[in-house]
Symmetry: C2
Subunit: 358 residues, 2 copies
C-alpha cells in the first residue's frame, strides 16, 4: 500500500487549545485581584498553594487548634436564567456565596475558593466574564481564588449550556466552632435581609414564570418596578462574610452568637432547625420584616400557598443568627453598622426542634 | 370568584425530595468509611470539618509552616464512556485521582476531598455506586470525603447524562514544597506505570473508537485480550499517593526528589516541562518501558502519529519523579517495594525547558 495514511490529531477531535490559552490570559488579572499575601503563586504549578502561616504576622489570628472547614455547591438552575439572559457577570457571585455563607455558619473565616466550570464551547469572552464574577464573589468574601478548571465538553453540554461548581475552604479555632449546641430558650433570632431569591427554589420559580405564566426572561413586571423578570431572578446572592466575621471578632470575649443558619433550599423552616437543640423551637414573627416584592409576585403568579413559599424561598431573610438576649441589641447594632438590613425576627422557645411561623 | 385556586408546589416543579433522602441514607456508610480521627462529624452541619491539629498526636507530622494545597478537576468526557457502559463504579476513582495526583506533585499529603455531582435524574442506586467509587478513591488516596453536593438538573443534563467535579485539599510543610527549582543536569527521570488512558485524551480516543471505527462501547478488541473497548477505556486512573508520600517520608533527610509531574493532558512532553528549569531539557528514552496495548490500538485505529500520541496520552507513564542521581537506585527500589511498576526513563540534560523523546 503506497497510499498515504491520513492521520487524525487531537485538534480535529474538537478540543480548542488556542481558545483555552486565550482564556487563561484573560482571566489572569481577575484571579490575581483576589490574592492576599498568603497565596503562594507557583508558576506552572499543579495546585493552588495557600500558606496557613499560623505563627506569621500575615495571619491576623493565631490558631491553637485550627479546624479546616470545607463546602461545595453549585447554583442550581439559576444557571439557566443566566444562559437565557446571556448575562454571566453575577452567577459567579452566587457560586461563591453558596459555599462561603455555609461555612460562615460554623464560625469559619473563608480562606480560599476554587471553581469548576463546564461549558459546551469555550468562548474566552464569556468565560472571562464568569470568572471575573467569581473573583468579585471572592473579593466580597475576602478569600482568594487559588484554582479552577474550565472543561469544554460539547457532548455533555448542549449549545450555550454550562454548569459551575464551587469549593471553599476556611478555618476556625476548634473551641470557637459554632454548632447551635448553646442555643437555649429566650435566645433572640436575628435575620439579615436577602437580595432576592438568591440561589434556591429556581425549579419552582422557573415553573411559575416560564411554564405557568409563559413569560420570556426579558418580560418586564410592573410590581418589580418594571424590571425584567430575568434580571430580578438573577440578583446575586448576598455574601454575609464580612459583617459576620467582624461581628464574631468584635464579640470574641462574650461570644453571644449561639447558632447561625444560611437560608437556602428549605427556607427558614428547613434551615433553622439544623442548629436547634431537640427541646427548643424557633418562634418566628413573619411580620417582623417586609417580604420583598419578588416573593409576592411568585406567590400570586403561581399561585403558591404561603406555607409552601416559606418552605422553598428565603422570603427576604438570607441568614439568621441566634444570640444571647443580653447582647441582642448590641449585636443588631454591630451588624447594622456593617451595612446590613437587620431584623429581630423571633425567639427561641421550648419545643421539639422546629420552626413556628406566627 | 368563588373558584378554588389551584396552588402549585415545589414537588410539582420536578424536585424529588424523597429520592434525595433515600440517596443520603445509602451513601452514608461509603462516606464514613473514609473518615479518619481528624474528621469532626457534625450532625446537620452546613460544612465539612477537618481538624488540622498541628500539635496533637493524631497528626503524624508536625508542621511549623503548614501550606494548604488545593486542586480541582473533573474527569472530562470519560464520563460519557461510563454513561454508555452504565458502569459507575470506577469514575469516582478517576475523579479523586485527577486532583490528588496533582497535589502530590507539590509534595503535599492529601487531607480531604469533596465532590459535586450533577445528574439528570437522581437515581439513588446509581448515585450510591458513584459515591462509593469516590469513597474508594479517597481510601486509596488516604483522604477523607468530608462533603459533597448532588444536584438534580433535568433542564441542563439530558437523560442519563451527568457530570462530576472534585476538589482536594492537602498540606505540606513550607520548606518541603517541591517546585522543580532544584532540578539540574544529570538528574534521573523515573516513571511510574499508568493503568491505561487514565482521564485525559478522551475526545481523541472517542473520535477514534466511536466515530472513525464506529465501534460500540461493548465491542470486544482482540489486541486488548478480547476486552470490550469501553471496559478498557474505563480502567481507573492510578492514584500515586501512598507510594509517593511514603517515599518522601522515607527520604525526608536526603530529599532526593527535585521535581515531579502528573502526566495528564499534554502527556510527558506537555507536563514534565512544568517543573523544568529554563536551562534544562528532559531527555526521555521511549524504549525504556513497554507502551500498553490500548495505546497501540488507538495509534493504529486512528491512525495517530506517534508524536501526537505522546502529546495527548500518558503512553504508559502516569507519574514522573526527577531525582538526584546518587539516590536514583534507592528511590526506584523504594517505589518498587510499594508495588509500583518503576522505570528509569531518562535524564536531565542541558537545554531550554523542553522534553526530547529518543
Amino acid at each position: 500500500m503506497s497510499q498515504e495514511k491520513k492521520y487524525i490529531s487531537y485538534a480535529e477531535s474538537g478540543v480548542n487549545i488556542d481558545a483555552n490559552d486565550q482564556m487563561v490570559d484573560r482571566i489572569s488579572s481577575s484571579v490575581k485581584s483576589t490574592f492576599g499575601p498568603r497565596v503562594m503563586d507557583l508558576k506552572n504549578g499543579f495546585a493552588g498553594l495557600f500558606s496557613l502561616d499560623s505563627d506569621s504576622k500575615l495571619f491576623k489570628k493565631n490558631y491553637d487548634h485550627p479546624v479546616l472547614v470545607a463546602c461545595t455547591d453549585g447554583v442550581g438552575t439559576k444557571i439557566l436564567i443566566a444562559q437565557q439572559m446571556k448575562k454571566f457577570d453575577t452567577v459567579g457571585i452566587d457560586l461563591v456565596a453558596m459555599s462561603v455563607n455555609d461555612m460562615l455558619v460554623q464560625g469559619a473565616d473563608p480562606l480560599f475558593f476554587l471553581d469548576y466550570l463546564a461549558v459546551n464551547k469555550l468562548d474566552p469572552e464569556n468565560v472571562a466574564v464568569m470568572v471575573e464574577s467569581i473573583a468579585e464573589g471572592c473579593r466580597q468574601a475576602n478569600c482568594s481564588l487559588i484554582g479552577g478548571e474550565t472543561a469544554e465538553m460539547p457532548d455533555i453540554y448542549g449549545q450555550d449550556e454550562f454548569d459551575m461548581a464551587g469549593f471553599a475552604v476556611g478555618v476556625v479555632e476548634k473551641d470557637r466552632i459554632i454548632t447551635g449546641e448553646k442555643v437555649r430558650q429566650g435566645d433572640i433570632i436575628i435575620g439579615l435581609g436577602s437580595n432576592g431569591v438568591h440561589s434556591n427554589g429556581f425549579s419552582l420559580a422557573r415553573t411559575i414564570c416560564f411554564k405557568q405564566q409563559k413569560l420570556n426572561v426579558t418580560d418586564k413586571i410592573d410590581s418589580l418596578n418594571g424590571r425584567a423578570i430575568g434580571d430580578a431572578l438573577l440578583d446575586p446572592t448576598k455574601i454575609y462574610v464580612r459583617p459576620v466575621v467582624k461581628l464574631l471578632e468584635d464579640f470574641a470575649d462574650t461570644r453571644p452568637v449561639h447558632g447561625m443558619a444560611h437560608i437556602t433550599g428549605g427556607g427558614l423552616v428547613g434551615n433553622i432547625p439544623r442548629v436547634l437543640p431537640s427541646d427548643c423551637d424557633a418562634s418566628i414573627d413573619k411580620n417582623a420584616w417586609q417580604v420583598p416584592p419578588i416573593f409576592d409576585y411568585l406567590a400570586q403568579a403561581g399561585p403558591v400557598e404561603e406555607s409552601e413559599m416559606f418552605r422553598v424561598f428565603n422570603m427576604g431573610i438570607g441568614f439568621t443568627l441566634i444570640v444571647d438576649p443580653a447582647h441582642a441589641d448590641a449585636v443588631m447594632q454591630n451588624l447594622s453598622e456593617s451595612g446590613e438590613n437587620v431584623y429581630r425576627i423571633g425567639e427561641i422557645v421550648g419545643g421539639s426542634g422546629k420552626v413556628i411561623l406566627k
